[in-house]
Point group: D3
Chain length 306, copies 6
């Protein structure tokens, strides 16, 4: 708390909703954002959307914690729909067991898919019956316990297996969603997935796939969504938090979710617009890069040489 306050005492003049908007990241969660916001508010006497990820009691947004996972699934669903594939009944391999995995598993289940893996530093769980409902709640309990292991899941839910020291990418699944950490899916893992005829890979974790993995997916014409597109739901919901603050309103969870859905839909459409290749394959890496560049370039040129 003292650190957050001292940090703000130096930085406050350089932050603002039209200037620079800090966000949480590894080691900076709602607690730290709250402390920084409190000090910022004391110094500026303004109650604005300069910070996002705030507590619900003072301007935070519903659905913010699940937003990255929810958004990821909306994007993946859109990828499949574009190719005429229904997500219903598809098997999904997820890595991680934290907030992102929680959101991804919850929304995947809502959309009718079956989540068959989660993972921790100790290995992964394979549950062919699907990880949903109370099982997801149990996953959150494991996370909150602070033990940082997923192994107990197998004891709790018969029919599931704990595979120690491995990543879930060796499991056959239609959809693979890295939701844990960077470089968690390398070239070898990619080859496993390709060999197992994976349909779609969504890199929901930040830089979850190594360059080798990405190259392999694209070479093999696998549907692959890079993090900069598929995990934009978190930042997007920070934007929605800013909107709610600007409006002096709080939206219901359903409203936030609906707007998040629309935003992911729009991002997907931009990727398709700029990433579709002559043979119909959608190179989402290329699409996301070009779409982002074009938006900034048009805005800069539109505002003149200043």
């Amino acid at each position: 708390m003292r650190f957050c306050q001292a940090f703000m005492l130096e930085l406050w003049r350089h932050l603002g909703p039209d200037m620079d908007v800090p966000a949480g990241d590894i080691g900076v969660g709602g607690r730290e954002v709250g402390y920084m916001f409190g000090m910022y508010k004391k110094l500026t006497r303004e109650f604005t959307g300069t910070f996002t990820g705030k507590g619900l009691e003072f301007g935070g947004s519903l659905v913010r914690p699940e937003a990255t996972g929810f958004g990821g699934l909306y994007f993946v669903n859109q990828m499949l729909e574009t190719k005429g594939i229904d997500i219903k009944g598809k098997t999904v391999a997820i890595s991680g067991f934290g907030n992102v995995a929680w959101g991804a598993a919850t929304k995947a289940t809502q959309l009718g898919a079956k989540v068959i893996t989660i993972s921790g530093p100790d290995g992964y769980i394979y549950d062919p019956n699907g990880i949903s409902g109370k099982k997801i709640d149990y996953m959150l309990e494991l996370r909150a316990s602070g033990n940082d292991i997923v192994a107990p899941y197998a004891d709790e839910f018969p029919g599931s297996t704990f595979v120690p020291g491995k990543r879930p990418w060796e499991v056959k699944a239609d959809i693979a969603l890295p939701c844990a950490t960077q470089n968690e899916l390398n070239g070898e893992d990619a080859q496993h997935l390709i060999d197992n005829k994976v349909t779609c890979v969504g890199e929901i974790s930040n830089m979850g796939c190594t360059p080798e993995a990405i190259d392999l997916f694209i070479e093999n014409k696998i549907m692959y969504a890079p993090g900069k597109a598929v995990n934009a739901g978190g930042v997007a919901t920070s934007g929605l938090e800013m909107s709610q603050n600007a409006m002096h309103l709080s939206w219901s969870a359903a409203e936030v979710d609906e707007k998040l859905h629309a935003i992911m839909h729009g991002i997907h459409a931009q990727c398709v617009k700029y990433g579709t290749e002559p043979d119909g394959y959608i190179n989402y890496v290329k699409g996301a890069n070009i779409a982002g560049f074009m938006k900034v370039a048009h805005a800069m040129m539109g505002q003149g040489i200043i």
Copy 2:
């Protein structure tokens, strides 16, 4: 007008949408708010939601006058639903015949209940046929006449009775709604209502019930909603007026009403969360107090020691 302007000339630096937001109260209505807003705008050169209850031509919100009554009924309806009771066909005793009573009677009728009393300083009207439609319009006319009496109602509408010098709480009704002034429902009145098997009491006026009355309701496990919860619709709609100002928009009456409904629903849910007792009785006094305290406490703690 001169007083409002001089007042603002002293106070303007200390008001603002993120600082302090004055509101009307007894003797300070739309006219005075307009004068204060005009002077504030002249001095600050800002057109913000610092004042609420403004005229519709310069930033005021539709439904603001009826908001307290509408919100009260949304809350009462929620109370009944929680216990599986349908408000349709229920009789409602209302006191008062001003803006609050107007909103309450209008919304009660819309929801299918039958309003059977209103009151003034001179006594109360008992109308077993129900006070709705043109009768409500007539009530507003009585109010606007400046005579401050309700007796003429009985002459206008055959089948209704004027009971001079009494309060309406002696009438048998399923729902009792004090909508007039403070301390208008004392211990004796409460006992009458209880004896007449009242189902639900909503204290829509500010501090309308005496402490004795409140104690009696709770002892007898009557559904009783304290003013701090059931009459929050007025302040809530001031908040919606601020939202509209922040958005540079005016919502339709339906939109305001819908948002007001959602807000009252949320307040009710908080009361239930914190006020439900082991035997299932919902102590709304306790619930509202704890919910309010928790929100402020969490916000303060979340923002650190500053």
Copy 3:
């Protein structure tokens, strides 16, 4: 660009969302607004809705280009509905072939009417089969070509005729919509339309009708909407752009269109309120003037003598 920047260097302190909000007009389009906004943002360090008609990449609103035409048709449709007339199947004579004509023709077609003329400086096109779909796209191409002529349309679409050097008001049509420039419909034109039993005239261009024309319409009890009411959709959508900026959000085209519709509906209702004459004829000129005056007058009086 240099001019726009120098202009802002002088003017920036006197602009702001609560102060003065410049807008494009003849010769000042999205390009110039972008340059001015860029310089304004550099100087003020604020990203606000001070300018409207911005590029979509930096705060502009969808539907802004079509807004005047769309709004005009919503108004005209409301006029007809008020008199129990269905716009479906009605023939529409439109002048012009730019943004306004584009919006008007598109929305007219959507509402089920048949657009039978457009015009340019070289004359007008009469197309009894209706101008819709690809024909509208072709019209935009003609516009974008920079040749400023409509004659090629007749070559492109068999069944249509080019009438050189004339205005479209000699054609028999149920609805006449000047969408080009000022004074483009004079007394003689008005008489033609009246003789041809025109039902409704909407002056979507700024001051498109001469005073003589307007007098003739009113004398003959023709439904006539003056520009200050029927072409308010453009400015209204600038307001919606400001709202989106204030909310840090972008609405979908459907949302903007819906809100535009509601605004035009409200303007029409005000005209009817103040312009309906004893014989039932709605004098929209009178209605618009009085409604505008009343709004400003009430706001001024409501805010006191300051």
Copy 4:
């Protein structure tokens, strides 16, 4: 007071020590400046030198009332010195009997000259014994009486004469100082002075000499100082009041007087620099005009085209 306050309520944002600095003039004296300053301070919360001529208790400067007259004599003395003439023993004809005449007579006496006339609307006093000491005090009493006449002076001081309905310029004097009002010295008066071999004319009143008078002085090579130079002492001392405010200090009368002297010396030097003609005659009209123009022109050019 109410007018001054209302005036400031409109104007306060546009005043400031680096922006615009109002000063008293006919009908706006210390009383009005005090009222305006009080309101300005209330609104801006700044205690700056935006107003000059303030009361001594709240930022006013000593010597401010006498400054115009003092400055005028410093200038005249400098004119004489430049030509090797000693002011000591010279006779001085002064018009007027207010603040300016007071300052002029006081300083003339201090410098060793003999003041032989003052005047009012009723005529002039000729006192060959010199108007100094108690006689000057008496003149101020006449002024303060509100009767606006100088005639009683002749009764009070034997040896002096009252000449009704005439101006003092018919008296033979070495130095003539118009200190009353505009156009108080016309061509005929100038001819009288020239015939009487006047040495030096200082137009201390604003535009006291008619164009004909000025032309005659210059043609006859009389030392003539235009008001824009010789009466700059008032505005100069307003500048010194601003300096004292900026320094949070009050200077003694001697300090103000010394600085005033230095400023008048500098202005005189500029006039000599730009107004000396080939024959040695100093055309102060030309000198003052060119010096003023050069200062502004150099400052503008030095700051670039902005």
Copy 5:
């Protein structure tokens, strides 16, 4: 330091050179002022004269520590001169041995008087040879030692006596200057001084004399200067520190001393103006009270009713 910083974090918005200017007092010296100024500067980014008594390296003024004592002697000297008495050779009884006593003894010696006592909590020193030069330095050493006693002086300087447990007012002296603490000179002490034919008493400490003492001095027509006049040198020099800050300059010690002298002279003149009684006795208590009241009253009235 932490306390000073936290204090400023709360208070900074309410301080400023035109608003409120904190100053040191008992327990708040240069060290604390420095800490507060540092934090204030960090928060406001302004280097202004909001704090006085700052370190010399960052805006402090020379002579500030000695200012109260110096000013006191200038005032006392003026009192004597007014009655035609030369301070040279007069004996002076001083109490205390801190900053104020230091300044008083130093300036008294400079003016030619002989200081014969100083005092501490342990008693007083009587030195008939005069306390000056190295003896004053030694006094400062005693003070800085932290022992809070003056007794060692008698050992150090032969010819001087230490009188334990007593105040110096029993010594015969021409001038008595309380320079230590409040209520240090009571009625009994005053009677001693009067019996010993004291000429002048200057209450340089804050409220050093009891009401009984003051009444006795006035009854006996002793020249008595109350603290609000005679010890104004400290606050006056804070004002000079503000002036130096405003000017971005540091004055030499001689310049500060000269200005301090002029200020004390002016205060004395005001006391004489308002406090001189018909018999010629100058009641400085009355004079200081009336002068202060008149200044504030004139300033308030001059600025109008606001």
Copy 6:
């Protein structure tokens, strides 16, 4: 001008009299400062001392151009006085022939010394009769001619010699003053001066002496003043310009010169305080370094850890 304006358009928010104050340097003179000030004033609407070296017509200070040279001589004179040496009659070798050399030669002559050299890129002039009066004016003419040579001086003034391609340090002189550019006096030059028994060396140019030269001077106990002390007059006079701006006043040349003298005196005293070595030799390098460090260190510590 365009560059200066564009530069200010980026930088203006980060400049201010309490923040950062730009100054001229090589290639940035009064012209550029004027352009920058003009743009800064346009943008900030403040007329403050943010820029120094401004034109005299808009806030510049008299003596600013000569200030470095004047200050240098005041310092050198102080050095000599400290050792009991009178500058009168001493010979002075100066390098350069620009503003700094001008100020140095002028003040040296005023103080009674005899300047015997000046120099340019083409060599140096040796004039044993002394360079003063009209000769200094001629030097300025040479400078203003743009030819950047001093050779013509020898033609103009018989008795002087032009030594091509050499520096003046080979001439025997009591005082050597590098006034041209960096590294203009190296070890070899220093040895020449030492061999010729130079008394005092003042490095008025920025870093005019090489490290070897400085070491030699100190080893040989020559009085040597480093640039950071001896050429501080330029920056000091910029500070005086800021003071004049803050006071809304312009000082006379004599006042500026006097204050400059006092400042240089103070800097010299600080060097002596911290640089005097046990044997009495004053190491000005050490003294200036320690004095500067101590001032900053005390100010930082005095303001606390912030």
